[in-house]
Subunit: 397 residues, 2 copies
């Protein structure tokens, strides 16, 4: 067959994410893999009522085409909530997107030419690397620690890559490492972005899932030059299955993103937009988030306490203040992928996400991402014990 | 501000489609503009019942993440229906996409490098030009007549563009012209595609809306070399607001398209996929389509009869056997855009889509696309009379 693909997708390969999604279907497996929210928290009754009301002949417009930018009532409610939480904006500053992932694709499409340098945390969100790959960027990863991206290292990386175009970051409860960018570093990051004329792509899927401490300002709220594209999602606070997210950016940037949204898929689902707007209008989403956070906080506390108790001392892990992940670091030269495939899954039916795929350049083998959100308490404790037992065998300290 | 956009989006401009979608909100306007399905045909009661059943705690997975390719039960039902209608395929040959538009974006992303030649009908679907623009192709448009793309002209165009990469076509009830590619030409098109190693993007949003004559085989069903990417949509046969479509392609092509879907937006809405599958499983969609076609056939007959009666003889129009559009051709040098803006809207509150934007290269000014699907009978007749009255003034035959 004579089909030749574009250069741009030559490097795009079947992905770890998709393999993991498939893996998750084995009911016996204790999977710390997916970044799934807890389905018991989905507001089922409320949504059932909302869809019931929307799906009547008088509301036929909820099944019709609508404006590509998204239903204005939803954009207003999103803007109101962001403004209430410190990121001032109006309905016209908001573009409704198909989950946060579409914000990454559209922003990359907007700013990246082949060979352009993208700065990321090291490690970074795998889905971002997948979104960016078709635009053939180069990567300049920046070290992270418990306070998120190391801005001193960022300054060095920018000096070495003066033409860098885009900085991608998950400032709150980062995927995969669970760490949060400190306020001081947020200010410094914006200052560096201004000096180097970077576009900053701020991805905030876990931002609302804070279990202790106070919310820090978004990068968008600190942005004085319209360089931040702020992306958020209802996947973790409402439900992923409605595929509902938002992008907030400066007017000219948002105009272009909206056009690329139109080009990509015409619009998001009118019905799901109307339902999300109805939910935000009729219920207290902040209370809903607070209720969910009680559950997630318990999961995190249980996971960290169990890890404290059972893990060999040579294995370190992060202590996230929110979100769904902790990041395990095994001794150097430990191969977390091989250990999972050859030992952990076959002998213990336990899985995590091996850390190697989260590194844009040099794939460090000795890490794993562990999600505590989707596993019942007893299986969570059981799974971590099994992990620790096999690790102790393997590490022979 | 220092944001520079990628070269690829330099040519992307605010679009006529979006302006039209906004225009459609004026309730006084008689708009023949949008290609909207009739909302009275949406299966509201059925969908209300389906969503009600899906949104129960026992079905929480309908709000959770799922496999990027789409729910297997939906892919099976789509494959069954396509197979029943002559395009043999299985669930693994189907990718669920966010309406047909996403199929155009992903296919262009898959095969186009900047400067690659795309062959289209002349005129062609504006949404395709919008989808392709970010990939910076060149266009080689091919003449059409009442039997669709003129394959003799296609052969000439291919001789002049031997490296052409992609052929985009709407073979059934084309947008904007309403014409259908004859069987003889379908066979010849595939033969030429094989000889020139083209990827054929077959876009079939209106295929099921046939009001007379027999269905012709899809290009996909005539494809012996795996070069056809077949794209379809539930927007016109179920409802656009659920954003549900499909792509069918050879295994290696579908694998790549699936990966680009994952990169673009992770997956389509689990809830809407489950609802579409439930609809297809529990109801007779072919009967639903047949019932809708009675309504649309009536609209088409009324529109064509009225045009026959009232239009000046110097204005020609196509006689589609299905779909939503007829294509008006005014005398040479008539400016359909200016006439609409300066005369038709201000004096008669009637709108169509000026034809110029549907031409990829040379924008012929003297055409208009007229959709008869979304306008009540009395307003349809009234609107066409008003159009004809003003045309008679303008044309002074």
């Amino acid at each position: 067959m004579g089909i030749s693909y574009a250069r741009r997708i030559a490097g795009v390969r079947p992905s770890a994410i998709r393999e993991l999604l498939r893996l998750g279907d084995d009911p016996e497996l204790i999977s710390f893999g997916g970044g799934y929210p807890d389905p018991a928290l989905f507001p089922m009754g409320e949504l059932a009522e909302i869809y019931q009301k929307l799906l009547t002949p008088a509301n036929a417009r909820t099944l019709q085409y609508t404006e590509s930018r998204g239903l204005v009532e939803l954009r207003e409610l999103i803007a109101d909530r962001l403004t209430r939480n410190g990121t001032a904006c109006g309905a016209d500053d908001v573009l409704v997107i198909q989950g946060g992932q579409q914000g990454l694709d559209l922003t990359a499409k907007l700013v990246l030419d082949a060979g352009d340098v993208v700065i990321t945390e090291n490690p970074t969100f795998l889905g971002a690397l997948i979104a960016f790959a078709p635009y053939e960027p180069q990567y300049a990863p920046v070290r992270i620690d418990d306070d998120g991206m190391d801005v001193d290292h960022l300054e060095e990386v920018l000096a070495a890559n003066p033409g860098a175009k885009l900085l991608y970051t998950v400032p709150d409860f980062q995927n995969p490492a669970g760490v949060t960018l400190s306020l001081e570093r947020r200010l410094r990051l914006i200052e560096l972005a201004n000096r180097h004329q970077l576009v900053v792509l701020e991805d905030t899927p876990y931002r609302d899932l804070r279990y202790e401490g106070s919310h820090l300002p978004t990068l968008k709220s600190l942005d004085t030059q319209g360089r931040v594209v702020h992306v958020g999602s209802f996947s973790k606070i409402l439900a992923p299955g409605v595929r509902m997210g938002w992008a907030v950016a400066a007017p000219d940037v948002l105009e272009k993103l909206g056009l690329l949204k139109l080009a990509a898929d015409t619009q998001s689902s009118t019905l799901n937009m109307a339902a999300t707007a109805a939910y935000l209008g009729q219920y207290d989403v902040d209370q809903h988030v607070a209720d969910g956070n009680v559950v997630y906080r318990h999961k995190r506390d249980l996971a960290l306490a169990t890890l404290d108790e059972v893990l060999p001392k040579s294995v370190r892990f992060t202590r996230p203040e929110g979100g769904l992940f902790t990041w395990l670091s095994f001794p150097d030269r430990f191969d977390a992928t091989r250990f999972m495939q050859e030992t952990l899954i076959p002998r213990a039916k336990v899985a995590y996400v091996p850390g190697a795929t989260f590194f844009p350049l040099v794939q460090e083998p000795n890490h794993a991402r562990l999600s505590y959100s989707g596993v019942p308490d007893d299986r969570l404790v059981d799974g971590l014990h099994r992990l620790a037992d096999l690790l102790r065998e393997e590490l022979v300290e």
